[in-house]
């Protein structure tokens, strides 16, 4: 949410107008440019890696994420990691990242947690993107009364400190991953709406749009075929960065006890559940956090890369 909020109306206006003269091979050239940027490539690799982990989770994880080892062998809850390669006694059972509070294998839970985090990130952004850009497009294109109402509602949502509004929504709806997603999505909508509106505003007055209308195209058709595709580019950038923010926010919710419910393996809740054990079992706080950092980093790098690739004006 922090990343999204820094895009003001003004900034996005500037961004939108700079895009106007793109040829239709926009995406192809952008892709090539993205691959040339170090950061973007690293980001892509990280995300690709996380995706692979999520998809191949059953193969990578040595155990079920919900399987507990209470009373089995020489194990106690919250055991530190034991990696045979790194010198751990061969007789002790191997747990790459140790055992958590219910004596479950943390490594497996982290691997399966990738699925949850990716799902959280994409769903939140998808919902916010769809609702937000629709509202923004309507607002920008029709203007007048609709524009005012929609933008005032967006202002009210933006006026709240994001985390608090989301906490309020989740508190009212009840804890759980789905409600958390909804809350984060609701709070993110204004950013997409604003950007879409700004793009639409800048574009709709242009000659080629007027020309299309003169030639008989309906408002809606123009919106769909001319305006929206050009407005999409800043939205894609924001969307990618938004996934990063959504994963962070979901983790924050897990931390506050409002996110994923047991026994779901979600990185933020895993962190939250064990935060009082920071001194006695730091591995249970360190690894989930690290997983979050790496994933979010990947999306941030990709988002930055996309932004630079699509907007040469902001480049060096």
């Amino acid at each position: 949410m922090i990343g999204l909020r820094t895009v003001t109306k003004a900034e996005s206006d500037v961004a939108a107008t700079d895009l106007l003269d793109k040829p239709s091979g926009l995406w192809r050239t952008a892709w090539k440019r993205l691959l040339r940027r170090r950061g973007g490539v690293v980001g892509l690799c990280i995300i690709g890696f996380i995706f692979l982990v999520a998809i191949l989770a059953p193969l990578i994880a040595p155990y079920e994420p919900t399987r507990d080892f209470i009373g089995e062998g020489d194990r106690t809850r919250r055991d530190p990691p034991c990696v045979h390669l790194l010198g751990c006694d061969d007789e002790k059972p191997q747990h790459l990242m140790g055992l958590d509070g219910n004596a479950r294998d943390q490594f497996s839970r982290i691997v399966y947690g990738a699925r949850v985090s990716l799902w959280v990130g994409f769903t939140t952004v998808l919902v916010a993107f769809t609702i937000g850009s629709t509202l923004g497009a309507i607002s920008g294109y029709w203007g007048g009364w609709a524009d005012n109402v929609i933008m005032r509602v967006m202002d009210v949502v933006l006026g709240f400190p994001a985390l608090l509004l989301a906490i309020g929504i989740v508190a009212a709806l009840g804890p759980g991953l789905r409600n958390t997603l909804l809350a984060i999505a609701i709070v993110s909508i204004p950013a997409y709406a604003r950007v879409m509106r700004a793009s639409v505003l800048s574009i709709k007055e242009l000659d080629y749009v007027a020309a299309s209308r003169a030639l008989g195209g309906s408002r809606f058709q123009i919106l769909r075929t001319r305006v929206v595709p050009n407005a999409l580019t800043p939205l894609v950038v924001i969307g990618t960065l938004g996934i990063a923010t959504a994963i962070l926010d979901a983790a924050a919710f897990g931390f506050l006890g409002l996110g994923a419910q047991p026994p779901t393996a979600e990185w933020g809740s895993m962190l939250a559940d064990e935060r009082n054990q920071i001194f006695s079992a730091p591995h249970l706080v360190f690894f989930p956090g690290l997983a979050i950092v790496i994933t979010v980093l990947g999306f941030n790098l990709l988002g930055d890369g996309l932004r630079d690739a699509l907007d040469p004006a902001l480049n060096e």
Binding site: R77, R78, G101, W145, P262
Partner: protein
């Protein structure tokens, strides 16, 4: 321009709405009159009279005050509290109250000067005055509370000058502060830190024996006392309940999820409470028999249900989430019951569970308020508790008998029968009595944590001038007559004292402002002889009228000093069953 005019119109409409709303909201009496009419019943006709009277007792100039209930139908235990002499107070009960002394030793029944209560309008929320071993110096909101030793304390005062209360919500933070020596004692050690503290020679490990019980509840009839009762659930069948009782390996839960010192519950009430463990012990773990019973009940392949809990730390349940998942695992493995784990928000959870509206199993527990078996059994198995469905007369009739018997030993047989009835009917499954622990620096002499009440800090010796205590949270206010949270009670207790108090290492009751409280043969009249020559922190002298004034402010709903913080005076309402002159 067109947009601007529309905007102005819209704004005008909004302002008009706001003004109308504000104007309508101006009449403060609007909402309550209808309710007042609806609530009139027989007991409130005495409401207009001020029930605190002055009577001149024998022995001359002392004008003793009293507070009296209009009759004994109002639903509460107290009939009257009277200052029968300058240093004597008599409590008359409507029905036998064998646990009077144990209840009266509780911090909310602390005594403050009558004049001070009047001067603060019945709400000395941040400036209590008492007779205790410490005087309140300063409350730095959000940071700390500072006390100084009372030089004129009637008993043996503190060996040091300054007591400081601090707080931190994170257990890890508290331990770290203790280890770095910035605080001298902390509460609520996290179970994983027990070993750390025990192994550290600079720290002293203090096991806390507060009796508590965790139970797995089963709602047999939904919303039994509600407007639209939901009827029987799958748990209405006694075979299902017995199957679950036999199908949980309670020892495994205690061994793996509870700190050292915790025990499997042999009865609902911990054995340290007199009459708590009379009667047969609970069933042993027997998964095969459990499966048989479940099949007999018609569920050979188990069934689906939910297990509800709230994510709140308590002595009886230090790690709620983790334990809930463990129950889920055990139910599945032992009985093939699929229980979905549902975490609920605390307030909602309490509301739903206490009214018996949760369709499934739930995890809840009980921490003792006062050291008597009635505190455990009567709350949960009385005829007015819908928590587990319809209450069982086989249990509550016995409990009603037991609560009339003054002597513990004489009641043993009745409680044996009651415990056996509970074991037979299985309204819930008692799981564990959770141990908790606190810790002090090794340099602190006589560091302790009482099973009932907060530590008596004037009895410790830190070996320096200041003693710092760190608890879980900041007190809400320092007027404990109207507070319920442990953090407030601990802070008040240093300044304000009740008539009696709890011993340093057990639930035994000791004198404080009363040298002795004796009951008559059937525990309906309790007479307390007060300590003479005691002064409050403001210099005024303590006498029986202060006792009556302090109690009246809490128990009498029509008393002008019945103000407080919440205005509800929960512990008076709860422990004495009802307030005098309350609206019922």
């Amino acid at each position: 321009m067109r947009t601007d005019r529309r905007l102005v119109r819209l704004l005008a409409v909004l302002w008009a709405l706001a003004l109308v709303a504000a104007a309508c909201g101006g009449d403060d009496d609007e909402g309550t009159t209808a309710e007042e009419d609806a609530d009139t019943t027989e007991t409130s006709e005495a409401a207009e009279t001020d029930s605190t009277e002055e009577t001149v007792a024998e022995g001359g100039d002392f004008a003793g005050q009293s507070v009296t209930a209009p009759d004994c139908e109002y639903g509460g235990k107290i009939s009257s509290i009277e200052a029968t002499a300058e240093f004597e107070v008599t409590f008359t009960m409507c029905s036998p109250v064998p646990a009077f002394r144990q209840i009266a030793a509780f911090t909310p029944f602390g005594i403050q000067p009558e004049e001070h209560l009047e001067a603060t309008g019945g709400a000395p929320l941040d400036n209590p005055i008492g007779t205790g071993p410490f005087v309140l110096t300063e409350w730095n909101r959000g940071e700390q509370i500072v006390y100084s030793a009372n030089p004129d304390y009637w008993g043996e005062g503190a060996a040091y000058d300054t007591l400081v209360f601090r707080w931190a919500t994170e257990g890890a933070a508290r331990l770290l502060e203790l280890q770095s020596g910035t605080v001298d004692q902390i509460t609520n050690l996290s179970p994983d830190d027990f070993e750390t503290v025990q192994g550290d020679s600079n720290l002293t490990f203090l096991p806390v024996a507060n009796p508590n019980t965790l139970y797995l509840a089963m709602t047999a009839q939904l919303d039994a006392f509600g407007d639209s009762p939901g009827g029987d659930t799958v748990f209405a069948d006694p075979l299902v309940r017995e199957a679950i009782a036999l199908g949980i390996d309670r020892q495994r839960i205690v061994d793996n999820f509870y700190p050292e010192g915790s025990e499997v519950a042999s009865h609902f009430t911990p054995c340290s409470i007199p009459n708590g463990c009379e009667g047969e012990a609970w069933y042993d773990f027997d998964p095969d028999r459990a499966k048989e019973l479940l099949a007999e009940a018609g569920f050979p392949d188990g069934f689906e249900t939910q297990i509800f809990y709230r994510d709140v730390f308590r002595g009886y349940l230090p790690e709620p989430g983790v334990v809930a998942v463990e129950f889920q695992t055990q139910l599945k493995e032992n009985l093939n019951i699929d229980a979905e784990v549902v975490v609920m928000e605390s307030g909602e959870f309490i509301d739903e569970s206490t009214n018996g509206r949760l369709d499934g199993l739930y995890l809840l527990g009980w921490g003792a308020d006062y050291p008597h078996v009635t505190n455990f059994l009567d709350f949960h198995f009385s005829k007015s508790n819908p928590q587990f469905g319809e209450p069982h007369p086989e249990i509550y009739e016995l409990l009603e008998q037991g609560s009339q018997i003054a002597e513990d030993a004489a009641a043993a047989d009745i409680y044996a029968q009651a415990n056996d009835a509970i074991r037979e009917l299985i309204p819930m499954v008692p799981i564990a009595h959770g141990a908790s622990a606190s810790a002090t620096l090794a340099t602190v002499e006589n560091g302790h944590f009482r099973p009932f009440g907060a530590p008596l800090f004037h009895r410790v010796n830190p070996g320096k001038e200041t003693f710092v205590f760190m608890q879980n949270a900041e007190p809400i206010s320092l007027y404990c007559t109207d507070e319920t949270d442990g953090e407030s009670l601990a802070a008040c207790q240093q300044v304000v004292e009740p008539l009696l108090g709890y011993a340093i290492d057990s639930g035994a009751v000791e004198p404080r402002l009363a040298t002795e409280c004796t009951g008559n043969e059937d525990a309906t009249v309790w007479t307390c002889a007060l300590r003479e020559g005691v002064t409050f922190h403001d210099g005024s002298s303590f006498d029986a009228n202060d006792v009556v004034a302090s109690w009246a402010a809490g128990i009498d709903a029509q008393n002008p000093l019945h103000i407080g913080n919440t205005g509800a005076f929960e512990y008076y309402s709860y422990l004495w069953d009802a307030l005098i002159n309350g609206e019922s």
